[in-house]
């Protein structure tokens, strides 16, 4: 069965420190994974998708099929990165399942 696991509910780092938000997935096919972000009082929105291999707001994510992971990384966290982050797995052409989310708190 398809599953997305984000093991950390809360991640707290200091400004300027590296940050890694973990995501592991379970999927029998070839996965296409996304990271969504929800800033305070804003709607859920796409941050990045692995297929485009892009860096958005300094964040990158590499798909590791051997470890079935898609961790989100940023070398130097900023206060405005504080938000809820959700890893998502679209499958079956139309469906998308979300992880439980990780709240990132960047301290000054």
């Amino acid at each position: 069965a398809q599953r997305v696991t984000q093991p950390e509910k809360l991640l707290s780092v200091f400004k300027g420190a590296p940050v890694e938000l973990k995501c592991n997935y379970s999927y029998s096919g070839s996965p296409e994974l996304f990271w969504y972000v929800q800033y305070s009082r804003q709607r859920l929105q796409l941050l990045l998708r692995h297929i485009s291999r892009e860096s958005i707001k300094g964040f990158t994510a590499d798909l590791n099929k051997g470890e079935t992971s898609f961790h989100l990384k940023k070398p130097f966290a900023q206060e405005e990165d504080s938000a809820m982050y959700y890893c998502a797995l679209p499958f079956g052409g139309f469906k998308t399942i979300f992880g439980a989310g990780t709240r990132l708190f960047v301290k000054a």
């Binding site: 984000q6 509910k9 296409e32 996304f34 709607r43 859920l44 929105q45 796409l46 998708r49 297929i51 959700y86 679209p90 499958f91 079956g92 052409g93 139309f94 469906k95 998308t96 399942i97 979300f98 992880g99 439980a100 989310g101």
Partner: protein, 114 residues
Amino acid sequence: EAGVAQSPRYKIIEKRQSVAFWCNPISGHATLYWYQQILGQGPKLLIQFQNNGVVDDSQLPKDRFSAERLKGVDSTLKIQPAKLEDSAVYLCASKAEGASTEAFFGQGTRLTVV
């Protein structure tokens, strides 16, 4: 382009009452989702439409929840009767064709059942 519109933004009802939520997806998006997001959890899919047909409603509590998407555009989600555990944010999202396309979310409707 205009985003996904949802109304109302907030709703407070007593248990056993009925409530309805409305969603207007992005123009041209064939796929529409309703998600339930309970505090502290990720969004959980309730129902998914492809145009006006239901693709997946396996997690919809059909004894009390119903949804429709007449004409394949706007959608309504209804709860009747509501229970305390239905308190959550109800998110509507829409997506264009293709597995790699992103889902666009509305602001959500925060439901509180007292």
